[in-house]
């Protein structure tokens, strides 16, 4: 029996949506298992870390790693998978850019813990219990991985070969990548795969704004009856499409919802959020500072809107954590 290529899947700090996408391949998974061996997939099959540690370096051909790096365990396994894999693919927005978990970088750990363990409406605990990295019980010592001060993305902690964006990546793109990978047709290292180069607007068929169009008030999608034929921006609804990489097949637009930006920055975009602020800010119409503030207030949570999936990957994030210019803060925003 000639050895088939070995595949591995891992989820770090993520919701599991990327795993579901893989299962959504359905019968095509059978094709894959005919052509390759899946040697590690904690979400679906009973492998242990010990099994991976027992493998030789580079024994796994391709690892699809989803989820952000939020704690010690995430990072430890990232290093492990790197060591054991020929090709490491950051799979999905969280491992690509930090994803939704990356939004936590707006807050410090203590305020996050306060929210989760003290003030959240579903919590009833007056003792101020916090998870401990080490607890002594009669049976011995129980350990939990320590949380990191910031959420990182995979390439922050280890060398990554390819980036496959999406929250989650769409099934057809996943299938295409499998095929390319199994046939050895992947592009040069460091490329974004399973996506296009241009932005979502390139494939969006909605009617664009007329010259001179200006926004005087922003609305959230639920506040307005959206015309399915018009550019969302012309309806005063923020759409991340202009700066977001295409390749998703526009399921959101098809569902009459604006682009949320999950495929990350398109080619030519240095910083997705800043670029969106540059593009959308230029559409605002006012020369009155007071009115400007009123309009800006209608953008609820600009950082969370423009950096929804890429805050951990942003320049602001770099400034805050790497260059240490951030302030300490006690309370949640």
């Amino acid at each position: 029996m000639t050895s088939k290529p070995k595949l591995a899947f891992y989820w770090a700090a993520s919701c599991g949506g990327c795993e579901i996408t893989v299962t959504e391949l359905g019968m095509r998974l059978v094709d894959i298992s005919e052509k390759a061996d899946i040697v590690f997939w904690p979400a679906a099959m009973d492998f242990k870390y010990e099994d991976v540690r027992a493998m030789a370096d580079n024994e796994i051909d391709i690892t699809f790693f989803n989820g952000a790096i939020r704690n010690e365990e995430n990072e430890e396994i990232a290093h492990l998978m790197r060591q054991k894999s020929k090709i490491l693919i950051a799979f999905g927005s969280c491992s690509h850019l930090g994803g939704i978990p990356g939004l936590a970088n707006m807050y410090d750990i203590e305020s996050l813990c306060q929210r989760v363990f003290d003030t959240s409406p579903s919590v009833d605990d007056t003792r101020g219990t916090r998870p401990q990295t080490c607890t002594i019980v009669p049976e011995g010592e129980i350990k939990l991985p320590a949380l990191y001060e910031q959420v990182q993305y995979l390439a922050d902690v280890t060398d990554v070969d390819y980036f496959m964006p999406g929250c989650p990546p769409v099934v057809d793109q996943v299938w295409a990548v499998f095929q390319a990978a199994l046939s050895g047709n992947l592009p040069t290292k460091g490329s974004v795969i399973g996506a296009s180069a241009k932005s979502v607007c390139d494939v969006c068929t909605r009617k664009k704004g007329e010259p001179g169009f200006r926004i005087t008030e922003f609305k959230r999608p639920h506040e307005v009856e959206l015309d399915p034929d018009l550019c969302f921006l012309t309806q005063g609804v923020i759409c991340c499409g202009p700066a977001t990489r295409a390749g998703c097949g526009t399921p959101c637009l098809n569902g009459n919802m604006p682009c949320r930006g999950c495929y990350g920055p398109a080619e030519g975009v240095e910083d997705q959020g800043a670029k969106l602020a540059s593009a959308i800010g230029a559409l605002i119409d006012t020369d009155d500072p007071e009115k400007l503030n009123q309009i800006l207030e209608t953008i609820v949570d600009p950082a969370g809107t423009f950096y929804r999936f890429g805050l951990a990957h942003s320049i602001m994030n770099k400034m805050k954590y790497e260059r240490g210019t951030g302030h300490e803060t006690e309370d949640l925003h």
Binding site: K198, D202, K208, E267, G268, P289, A303, M316, T325
Partner: protein, 319 residues
């Protein structure tokens, strides 16, 4: 053209354009010429008063080739100052439209679109103060695709579209993304290095412009942009990321922008950036936007010295 009204003169054609009606009220006081900054900053032969005279005298050829026809950016500083309430920019625009119809072209360098990068989002067309870009469709590899194209006779070169284009598909000599980031300075650790992005119109006085160059290079690094509409929050962040301690953006007072709305655009963008920096709990005073009025001689010195002071203080506090 009306056939009943007899011979339509050049002046009649211009007067028929909204805003041009009061053309003949001009008594050549020269207010428009000195209120405008183009003659002093760019073109010694720029003179709206003379252009109006050329129109009245039927000097079509001279009017079509006059730099005044092509360089007016419709900022309307002159309109609010004109004692005869002549909408001068609209008169000039009418002359320009007639010139374009007669086959003359703008001497200005317009922005160009790189179709390999353009995704046809139309943001350039929406943000342009002059409606110079527009979208058109053409077939690429059998598929109908949308691209932006720019009317070179309408483009005044403010760069608002360059900054707003999400994909860096629009550029003009001197204001492309690469050309701006290439000007980011070396940043010595112990110097309160700041970048001043300045539009060339907000500093009316020659002495204020000269002041910018008088600071040591490792303290105040000046990057000239045509208009603060060209400011890209990405650049401000990239500058800070590269070790620059502060970014001062210097534009015109609202209502006095040379390119109609660039300064408003900049305050929107910097307002957004400021909110996002706050959300990230980053110090907001590192980026500051000042809008300098035509009468605020010497204010730029206050602003730069103020920021240098703040930066030095916070550096000392950190040390």
């Amino acid at each position: 053209m009306s056939h009943t009204a007899g011979v339509q003169t050049f002046a009649d054609e211009v007067k028929a354009v909204p805003g041009g009606e009061h053309l003949e009220l001009c008594y050549s006081c020269g207010t428009c010429v000195s209120k405008c900054m183009i003659q002093q900053k760019v073109e010694p032969d720029y003179n709206p008063r003379r252009l109006l005279r050329m129109v009245m005298e039927g000097m079509e050829e001279a009017a079509f080739t006059s730099p005044t026809t092509w360089l007016c950016s419709e900022c309307d500083l002159c309109f609010s100052a004109c004692p005869q309430e002549i909408h001068i920019s609209q008169v000039i625009k009418a002359v320009k439209e007639l010139a374009v119809r007669a086959g003359y072209t703008s001497p200005l360098t317009a922005v160009t679109v790189n179709e390999d990068l353009c995704s046809g989002c139309g943001i350039c067309a929406m943000v342009c103060p002059y409606e110079a870009p527009s979208l058109y469709e053409k077939e690429v590899d059998g598929v109908l695709d949308r691209f932006s194209k720019v009317d070179p006779n309408k483009c005044m070169g403010c760069g608002t579209c360059v900054a707003a284009c999400p994909l860096g598909a629009i550029a003009r000599v001197g204001v492309s993304n690469a050309e701006i980031t290439a000007q980011f300075p070396e940043t010595p650790k112990d110097a309160p290095t700041m970048i001043v992005f300045t539009c060339d119109w907000s500093l009316r006085e020659a002495e204020d412009v000269a002041l910018l160059e008088s600071y040591p290079e490792d303290e105040v690094n000046v990057i000239h942009i045509p208009c603060t509409g060209r400011i890209d929050p990405q650049h401000a962040l990239m500058a800070l990321d590269s070790g620059v301690k502060g970014v001062l953006v210097c534009g015109c007072k609202p209502g006095e922008c040379h390119y109609k709305r660039g300064t408003d655009v900049a305050s929107c963008k910097i307002g957004l950036l400021d909110t996002m920096l706050g959300q990230m709990n980053l110090p907001q005073k590192q980026i500051r936007f000042v809008q300098i009025g035509t009468q605020e001689r010497g204010r730029i010195r206050e602003e730069i010295d103020g920021m240098l002071n703040t930066l030095t203080q916070s550096m000392e506090a950190m040390a």
